[in-house]
C-alpha cells in the first residue's frame, strides 16, 4: 500500500542507518529512565534494606525472604481485597452505563441528537486532576460539607452522615469517582467498536423481525467481545494502579481502619519509609500480575486482527 517493501534495493539501504539514528533518543531515554530502574527494582527485592529509626539495616542479600514476609503478612491480602472491591464498585456501573450509552449513540433508528455535546460532557471527568477531584469530593462529602447540609435541609437525613468514617460509604465514594472518571472513556471505546460492526448484520436482523433487545444480545455483544475484553482487562490493570483518589480522599491512611488502602498506596508508604526491600518485592509482584493481564490483552488484540 505504501510501497515501503524495498528490502533488497541497494538505493534504499544507505538510508536505513537513519532508522537507528531516529530510534536512538527513545532507546537511550527508555534504557536510563525505565529499563535500569526496572532491573534495579527487581534487584532490590532480594535484599534486606530499610531504615529502623536512625539505623540503616542492610543491604544484605536475603533471596526471597522479602516475598515470604510480604505474602505471609495479612496486610497485602487485605489491600488486594480493598483494591479489587473498589474496582468492582466502579467497574460494574461503568460497563452497564457505557454499553447502554454506546448502543444508543450507535443506533441509527434512535437518531440521538446532540451526540457531540453528550460525548464531550461524559469524557470531561476523565481529564480532571484526580487529586483535585478527590479533594473536591472530600470537602463536598465532609461531615459538615454541602452534600450533608443539602440532605439535611431536604429532610432526607436527620443528621449528617459520616461518609468518610464508614467502610461501605468510603469505598463507594472511591468506586463512584472511578466510575465518573472512566465511564466516558469506556463509552467512546465501546462506541468505536459498535460503529465498526457491519451494518448489513443489523439490517438482516431487522428484516427477520428481531427486537432491539435481541439485536443487542445476539449481534452487538458477540461482535463486541474483543473490545469488551480489552476494556475489561485494561480497566483491571488501571484498577491495580488505583492511587490518587483514595490517597487524597483519606490522606494516605485508607480510613476507616485501612479499608480503602490500595496496593499502590501500600507501595507508596514503603517508598516514603525507605523500605527498599519490601517495596521492591511488592513492585515485582504487581509487575507480574500486570504482565499476565497485559499478555491476555495482547492475545486478544492479536486474535482480533486475524478476523
Amino acid at each position: 500500500m505504501d510501497g515501503g517493501k524495498k528490502k533488497g534495493n541497494s538505493n534504499v539501504v544507505k538510508y536505513n542507518k537513519w532508522g537507528y539514528i531516529f530510534l536512538a533518543p527513545f532507546i537511550i531515554v527508555y534504557s536510563v529512565f525505565q529499563l535500569i530502574p526496572f532491573i534495579s527494582t527487581i534487584y532490590y527485592s532480594f535484599f534486606e534494606n530499610y531504615r529502623s529509626g536512625l539505623k540503616q539495616i542492610g543491604p544484605n542479600f536475603i533471596a526471597l525472604e522479602n516475598y515470604k514476609a510480604l505474602l505471609a503478612n495479612a496486610d497485602i491480602w487485605k489491600y488486594t481485597e480493598n483494591t479489587f472491591v473498589m474496582w468492582i464498585i466502579g467497574f460494574v456501573p461503568q460497563i452497564v452505563v457505557s454499553l447502554l450509552l454506546a448502543s444508543w449513540f450507535s443506533d441509527p433508528s434512535l437518531r440521538i441528537k446532540g451526540q457531540r455535546f453528550f460525548k464531550t460532557v461524559i469524557y470531561l471527568p476523565n481529564l480532571i486532576m484526580a487529586a483535585a477531584f478527590a479533594m473536591l469530593f472530600f470537602t463536598l462529602f465532609a461531615d459538615s460539607g454541602p452534600i450533608n447540609s443539602m440532605l439535611v435541609q431536604a429532610g432526607i437525613l436527620a443528621e449528617p452522615y459520616k461518609f468518610m468514617s464508614n467502610t461501605g460509604s468510603a469505598r463507594i465514594l472511591v468506586g463512584f469517582m472511578n466510575f465518573l472518571m472512566w465511564f466516558g472513556n469506556t463509552t467512546i471505546l465501546l462506541l468505536a467498536g459498535m460503529m465498526g460492526i457491519d451494518t448489513s448484520l443489523y439490517e438482516a436482523a431487522e428484516v427477520d423481525g428481531a427486537t432491539s433487545t435481541q439485536i443487542f444480545w445476539r449481534i452487538t455483544m458477540p461482535m463486541l467481545r474483543p473490545i469488551f475484553v480489552f476494556v475489561l482487562i485494561t480497566s483491571l490493570i488501571g484498577g491495580l494502579q488505583m492511587f490518587d483518589v483514595p490517597q487524597i480522599l483519606t490522606n494516605g491512611e485508607g480510613a476507616p481502619d485501612r479499608t480503602t488502602m490500595t496496593l499502590i498506596m501500600y507501595l507508596n508508604k514503603h517508598l516514603f519509609n525507605k523500605n527498599y526491600g519490601m517495596s521492591g518485592a511488592l513492585s515485582v509482584i504487581l509487575l507480574i500480575v500486570t504482565g499476565i493481564l497485559s499478555f491476555a490483552v495482547y492475545r486478544f488484540t492479536t486474535k482480533q486482527e486475524s478476523y
Partner: protein
C-alpha cells in the same frame, strides 16, 4: 420516516424518550460536582458554614486574593506544573513521532524486535518501577529537579503507538522518496515534511501528554521536596493533610477550582479533537 415499526411493544419514540432522560441524568451527574465547586468558590467562609445554595456568592475576588496570599505557594505551583507539562508534551510528541518514523520508514535489523518490545512494555505502570527510578535519580543527583519529570516523556510507548498507527494511514512512502530525489536530507525530511503532515495526531497527543503530566501526582510527590518546586497536585495533597477544617473554606474551594478549571476550559475549546482522538486510538488499540 416516523412510521417506524413497533419492536416488541416498545416504540422507537419511547426508547428515544428513555434515552434522552438517561442522557440528561448522566449529564447532570457529570457536571453537578463542578457546578457546586464553582458556586462554593464564590462564597465566603461564613456563607459556606451556613449551608448550601444553588446561587453563586459575591466572594470570588476575596477568595482569590486570600488564596494568592496564603501559605500555599500556588503561583509557583502553577508555574511548575505548566513548565513540566508543556515540556513533557513537546518532548513526548516530537520524539514519539520520530520513533514511529524510524519504525515506519526504514528497514533495519532490529526493527521488528524493537516494535514488539515497545508494544510489550506499553502496559508497565510507572508506579512499579518507581523504586529503581527514585534510587537512580538520587544517584544521578537529579532529585528535587524537574528533569526526572520531563525527560522520560521522550520514551512514551503509548504515544509512539498512536503516531505509528496514524502514520500508516497518512504518510505515503512515495512522498519521502520524492523528497530524497529532491536532495532533502533525512533529518530535514522528517522536520519539514513528516512533522507537518502529522499535525492532527500531534495535536491530539500533545493534549493527552499535557493533561497526564498536569494531573500526575505519584512521581512528582516522590521527586520534588522543596516547597517552591512543588506542582499543583502535591499542593492539593498538602492542603488535604493540613488540618483543613481550620482553613478558610472559600479559599480551599478556590484552590481546587484553580487546579481544575484551566483544564476544563482548554478541553471545551479543543473537545472535538480530544473526543475524536480517543476513538481513533480505540479502533486501532
Amino acid at each position: 420516516m416516523d412510521n417506524r415499526r413497533l419492536k416488541s411493544g416498545v416504540s422507537v419514540t419511547t426508547r428515544r424518550v428513555i434515552a434522552y432522560i438517561v442522557l440528561a441524568l448522566v449529564t447532570v451527574l457529570c457536571l453537578f460536582w463542578f457546578y457546586i465547586l464553582f458556586i462554593n468558590a464564590t462564597r465566603s467562609h461564613s456563607d459556606l458554614t451556613r449551608g448550601f445554595t444553588l446561587i453563586p456568592g459575591g466572594n470570588a475576588v476575596a477568595n482569590w486574593i486570600s488564596l494568592m496570599h496564603s501559605s500555599q505557594p500556588v503561583i509557583s505551583g502553577l508555574k511548575n506544573s505548566l513548565i513540566i507539562a508543556i515540556s513533557a508534551a513537546v518532548l513526548s510528541t516530537y520524539f514519539s513521532t520520530m520513533t514511529a518514523y524510524a519504525i515506519h520508514a526504514y528497514e533495519f535489523k532490529i526493527k521488528n524486535a524493537m516494535f514488539t518490545f515497545i508494544l510489550a512494555v506499553m502496559m508497565i505502570p510507572t508506579q512499579v518501577v518507581a523504586l529503581g527510578f527514585i534510587n537512580l535519580m538520587g544517584r544521578m543527583k537529579l532529585m528535587d529537579t524537574f528533569i526526572p519529570l520531563i525527560v522520560p516523556a521522550i520514551a512514551a510507548p503509548a504515544t509512539f503507538f498512536y503516531m505509528k498507527q496514524y502514520m500508516e494511514s497518512t504518510l505515503p512512502m512515495a512522498l519521502l522518496e520524492a523528497a530524497r530525489i529532491d536532495g532533502s536530507g533525512e533529518f530535514r525530511t522528517f522536520n519539514s515534511i513528516v512533522l507537518p503532515l502529522m499535525k492532527p495526531a500531534i495535536a491530539v497527543q500533545a493534549i493527552f501528554s499535557f493533561v497526564a503530566s498536569w494531573n500526575n501526582y505519584f512521581t512528582p510527590a516522590l521527586v520534588l521536596t522543596t516547597d517552591k518546586k512543588k506542582t499543583l497536585p502535591i499542593l492539593i495533597a498538602q492542603l488535604r493533610s493540613a488540618d483543613f477544617l481550620k482553613f478558610d473554606m472559600g479559599q480551599v474551594y478556590m484552590m481546587i477550582a484553580f487546579s481544575i478549571f484551566p483544564v476544563i476550559i482548554v478541553y471545551l475549546i479543543l473537545s472535538k479533537n480530544i473526543v475524536g482522538g480517543v476513538s481513533v486510538g480505540a479502533v486501532k488499540g
